[in-house]
Structure formats: structure tokens, C-alpha cells
């Protein structure tokens, strides 16, 4: 059974200026499922709606962001939970215990004027239900498992390097052994050498806990090295989804194909074409397929109708009227 099921989700930023309503359609009709024990990569540029999507999945929506349609359901061993209908106390009970987060800015997770162990107490103490000395032992054992010296508990965040801080936030997110982890650009701010180690650490703890991860980043190279399956967001819609290996070997949506072809590779100096045009304004997206103004394969139907996300091969869905030919 899928751990996370998102169905027909629509989340708009609804504002009105001088009585003129304005909708920013940041997430428009997104359906996806994340299986137990897999890393689902979510790729997209800025303003593709990836942050709005994870906010909605985590039920962390605040006005002007509104969920207009669709559902988000988590199937935890303790029972299924509908995130849109769940009450405050229900959400508080699953957050961090079953559903946790790794954020991009470790400095905004850790309080700069308190030692690191306070963060563990604040986030995890009430979920583990252990007396304090035992709780701290659990935390230390967990840090050791992640090959972090237990001394970091007594450090202030600024005394740790950026990579070390991000490792601490990963330890923080996994100490309750959650079934589901949302990771939002966790390695984007890190140097390449550190990034590689942090990715290996995420992969290692995920394998050990058997958790599922929804891993969001714009960096396709990170997805290639980490994600089991990949969903590509463009202008608030999922345009392609499949196994990472399949998508990299033979992308079917023209946007995905361009993204992958334009990736710079060491040892390759062949000219790379840039994609013309700009990502659409989500307050006034183009009719039909939102990619059609930039698409080399666009035809009349693309300007009129929204292409549905349909299977083209087992486990591979594409939302395009004229997908790239199969290999």
C-alpha cells in the first residue's frame, strides 16, 4: 500500500486587490503516490509549485494559500490520515513521529542561541515518551549510528560547519524513526564534497529505517544519484513521472528531455541549446498545455486542451499530446 496518496490536488494562492480576485495556481491537479521504502524525487524550477505542493502535503497551508480540491492521505501503521480534514491534535501527534522534515537552511531549524541538544528535546522528547536520561541516551545512540560525535549536542549551531549542521538536522528528522520524511532542497546550500557525503548519509539512514522520502530539489544530478522514482513539475502540474533510470535514459516529455539534455557534464563540451521563453506566470497561465509556448513540438491541440497525465509504459506517465518517441 502506498504510504502517501495525493489525488487531484489543487492549491491556489487567492488574493484580491481592490475587489479584483487573483488566483495564483501554484498546484493544479496533481496526483501521485509514494510507496513504502522508496525515495520519490520531485524536480522543478523556481515557481513550478514544488514548495507549495509539499506545504499542502504537510498540511502547513496558511492564507492566502488555499486547498480547493483533492486529497492528501498518509497510510501510517497507526492508521490512515486525511491531512486536509485532520484536526490540530491529530496532526501534532503524527508530525515528527511519523512525518518529519529536512529543510534547506539548517540555521533556521536550529536555534542559534541554544545548544543543539535543546533542539532534540523540543522536537522529539514528547514523541519518544522516555524519561530524560534515557531519551538523551537514545539521541546519542542515534547520532553514533549516523557517525556523528555525541559532542555536537553541547555545541551551539554556529560552532558547527554548514555540512555538520545539516547532518544534525538529518539526525533530528530521523531520531523518531518516522515512516515518511519530506526533504526540501537539503543539500542545495552545501559544497559539492560535503553534498556527496550528506546524500550518502540520507540514503543510508533511509535504507536502515525503511522510511519513504519525498525529496525535492531542482538539481537533476542529485535526483539521478538518489531518487528511485522521479516526478517532474512544470508550472504547477506534474508533466512526467517514472523510474529515475527510465526518465534519464528516455525522457518522454519535451520539457524533461530538454532539462536532461542541457545538463552540463564533465568531459562534454558539445554545444547545449538553451530553452527559449520563460516559465509562465501562474496567475495567468497559458491555456491548454502550460509548456506549449516554449515547446518545439506544440500543435493546435496543445494550445486548446490540457494533456492528461497518462501511462506510456509500465510505471511511466507523461502529460503530453506529442511525447518524444519511445527508444
Amino acid at each position: 500500500m502506498s504510504v502517501l496518496v495525493v489525488e487531484g490536488l489543487r492549491a491556489y494562492y487567492r488574493t484580491s486587490a481592490f475587489g479584483v480576485p487573483r488566483d495564483v495556481r501554484a498546484v493544479d491537479d496533481v496526483s501521485l503516490a509514494v510507496e513504502a521504502g522508496e525515495i520519490y524525487g520531485l524536480a522543478g524550477e523556481s515557481s513550478s509549485g514544488k514548495t507549495t505542493l509539499i506545504k499542502t502535503i504537510a498540511a502547513a497551508t496558511q492564507p492566502p494559500l488555499e486547498v480547493l480540491a483533492g486529497s492528501v492521505t498518509f497510510n501510517f501503521p497507526s492508521g490512515a490520515i486525511d491531512m486536509q480534514r485532520a484536526g490540530r491534535s491529530q496532526l501534532a501527534a503524527i508530525r515528527w513521529r511519523h512525518l518529519s522534515y529536512i529543510m534547506q537552511g539548517s540555521m533556521s531549524v536550529l536555534n542559534p542561541v541554544r545548544r543543539v541538544h535543546h533542539a532534540f528535546v523540543d522536537f522529539a522528547f514528547r514523541h519518544l515518551g522516555q524519561p530524560m536520561p534515557r531519551f538523551l541516551d537514545t539521541v546519542r545512540a542515534h547520532l553514533q549510528r549516523l557517525q556523528l560525535a555525541p559532542d555536537v549536542l553541547d555545541a551551539f549551531p554556529h560552532q558547527l560547519s554548514g555540512g555538520m549542521r545539516q547532518r544534525v538536522t538529518i539526525a533530528l528528522a530521523t531520531v523518531c524513526r518516522p515512516e515518511f520524511i519530506i526533504a526540501d532542497e537539503p543539500t542545495t546550500a552545501l559544497d559539492v564534497v560535503v553534498q556527496k557525503d550528506v546524500l550518502a548519509m540520507i540514503r543510508g539512514i533511509q535504507r536502515e529505517l525503511g522510511s519513504s522520502i519525498l525529496f525535492v530539489t531542482h538539481d537533476m544530478a542529485v535526483h539521478a544519484n538518489l531518487a528511485d522514482r522521479l516526478g517532474i513539475l512544470y508550472a504547477g502540474r506534474l508533466v512526467e513521472e517514472g523510474r529515475t533510470a527510465d526518465i534519464f535514459r528516455a525522457p518522454r516529455h519535451p520539457y524533461t528531455a530538454h532539462l536532461i539534455a542541457s545538463l552540463p557534464r564533465l568531459g562534454d563540451t558539445a554545444p547545449k541549446a538553451g530553452l527559449g521563453g520563460v516559465p509562465p506566470n501562474l496567475a495567468d497561465p497559458p491555456p491548454g498545455c502550460r509548456f506549449h509556448p516554449r515547446c518545439p513540438r506544440a500543435s493546435a491541440i496543445c494550445r486548446r486542451e490540457v494533456p492528461p497525465l497518462e501511462p506510456v509504459a509500465p510505471g511511466h506517465r507523461v502529460g503530453c499530446f506529442h511525447p518524444e518517441p519511445a527508444p
Binding site: 534519464f248 536532461i260 552540463p264 538553451g274 520563460v278
Partner: protein, 271 residues
């Protein structure tokens, strides 16, 4: 022949003042030489804390070296004093910054920057001539005044805004561009076109570009020569492809091994 730019044993340290005993050597003993009349993309690669931005700021004359000399077209930068001399230098050496949304004032129309640069830096007078200078510069980056005129930064994409920043830098007809991480804030689908633009400016406009980056893959794609910095020291330098194909210094080898390949390795499969 005088060099376009010459750095001789340049170092810069911070701290170590009256109240602090700790000195940080941001750049240590860096020498390099870019030739006049031989346009190239000279890449400085390093991680955070490697001193690459301090090096760029010294070349732009925004930070003075603690020791060593920087000469631009034979003139020692430490002798550039006063508004007139400073402006003459800025005409020749122009910066491009990492985040175009921070480089432009969000409350100010972007064409104002182009007009101001044309008036102050390129000594263009008259509204029509100023607009024409701006339009010419925009056309060389694939935009036009008709497209961006009167627009505010938030109405343009990151890629467009970075092009405007590059167009602005081109107005005084500089000999050297210093681009500090110009594509790291740009979306993937627009990044290739900015990187291609740097190549075009070298080949078509004969510009020499100092390209500062942490991204070895784009460095490989655009660079002619490269230096790799670590903690303020140049650990390896040479012809870019030769260095990156076969790095000699252990740190360069480590950097190269950490670059994630966009090929899906065998072994990653549906769990």
C-alpha cells in the same frame, strides 16, 4: 607587451586588528596573467571559503590587497585614486553578480540602470542616443529595449534579469568582465543560455571573462584556462580541459570525484 590583467603574489587577510588576534588569510600569494588581445574565459573554481570571491573583489578594485600588486593594462590598481580615474577603470572592468534579484533595486525600473550606465560610464548624451546604447547592449544578449523597457525586476525571470545585468555591464564597452557565480541562481532551463552567452561574448565581442564558480561541469563547458583554489591558495592551474580531465592535486581530484554525474548509475533501482 603589457598584460590585460596581471596579479603578482596577491594576498589578502582579514581580521588581526586591534581587538582580534586571529587573522584569516582569504587569498594567499596568487599570481596570474591574462593577455591583451587574446579573449578567453578564465575560470576560478573553489568551494565556499576558498577565497574566490575575495579575489574577484580585488580585481574589481572593491578590496585592496594586503600585499602584492594587481595591474590592469599596466596600471597598478593601488594608484587609481579619485572619481575620474576610478570611473575610467570601471569602464574597462565590469562586474556581474550572483543574484540578479539582489543586484537590482526592486522598486526601480530595470532600464534606468542601463540609461544611468550609458550616461555616466559611456558618456552618451541625449535621450535618443542613450536609448540606442541600451538597446544595442540588450540586443547583444538576446533581448531588446522594447521587451524590458519600463519593467520592474519582479516582472522578469531570473534568466532575463541576469541578461539585463550582463547588457548593463557591456554598455561602457569593457575589456574584462568579472562574473561571480552568474548562473548559480538561474533556473536549469535558462542556465544553458546564460552560459552560452558568455561563450558568445568571448567569441563575438572579444571579451575576456573571469568566471567564478563552484560548478566543475559548467567550468568544463566554457573555460579556456582554470585555477582551482582551496583556502586562499591556488592548488592547480592550467588549460581547463587538461586540468579537469586529469587533475593532479589531491584536492582537485577530490572535487572532481564529488561531482554528481547526471547519468543514473547502475545499481540505483526501484526499491
Amino acid at each position: 607587451m603589457t598584460a590585460l590583467l596581471e596579479l603578482q603574489n596577491v594576498s589578502r587577510h582579514y581580521g588581526g586588528g586591534l581587538f582580534s588576534r586571529r587573522q584569516v588569510m582569504a587569498v594567499r600569494d596568487v599570481s596570474l596573467r591574462l593577455e591583451q588581445g587574446r579573449p578567453e574565459i578564465f575560470t576560478v573554481v573553489g568551494e565556499s571559503g576558498s577565497g574566490k570571491t575575495t579575489l574577484a573583489r580585488m580585481i574589481l578594485g572593491m578590496v585592496t590587497p594586503s600585499s602584492g600588486a594587481i595591474r590592469f593594462q599596466g596600471t597598478d590598481l593601488s594608484t587609481v585614486h579619485g572619481a575620474r580615474a576610478r570611473r575610467a577603470f570601471m569602464r574597462k572592468v565590469q562586474p556581474i553578480f550572483q543574484n540578479p534579484f539582489e543586484a537590482f533595486n526592486p522598486m526601480k525600473r530595470v532600464d534606468r540602470y542601463l540609461f544611468a550606465t550609458a550616461r555616466r560610464m559611456a558618456d552618451v548624451t541625449g535621450a535618443a542616443a542613450i536609448a540606442e546604447a541600451a538597446d544595442t547592449a540588450l540586443k547583444s544578449v538576446g533581448l531588446s529595449l522594447a521587451e524590458v523597457g519600463g519593467r520592474f525586476p519582479h516582472q522578469l525571470s531570473g534568466g532575463q534579469l541576469q541578461r539585463v545585468a550582463i547588457a548593463r555591464a557591456l554598455i561602457p564597452r569593457p575589456a574584462l568582465l568579472v562574473a561571480d557565480e552568474p548562473v548559480s541562481m538561474i533556473d536549469a532551463s535558462l542556465r544553458a543560455s546564460i552560459v552560452n552567452l558568455l561563450r558568445e561574448l568571448r567569441d563575438r565581442n572579444g571579451l575576456t571573462i573571469i568566471y567564478i564558480t563552484h560548478d566543475l561541469a559548467t567550468a568544463y563547458y566554457v573555460s579556456d584556462r582554470i585555477i582551482i583554489m582551496r583556502q586562499g591558495i591556488v592548488v592547480e592551474s592550467g588549460e581547463a580541459r587538461a586540468v579537469l580531465d586529469n587533475p593532479q592535486h589531491p584536492y582537485s581530484q577530490l572535487l572532481k570525484s564529488a561531482v554528481l554525474s547526471p547519468e543514473v548509475p547502475t545499481g540505483v533501482s526501484h526499491a
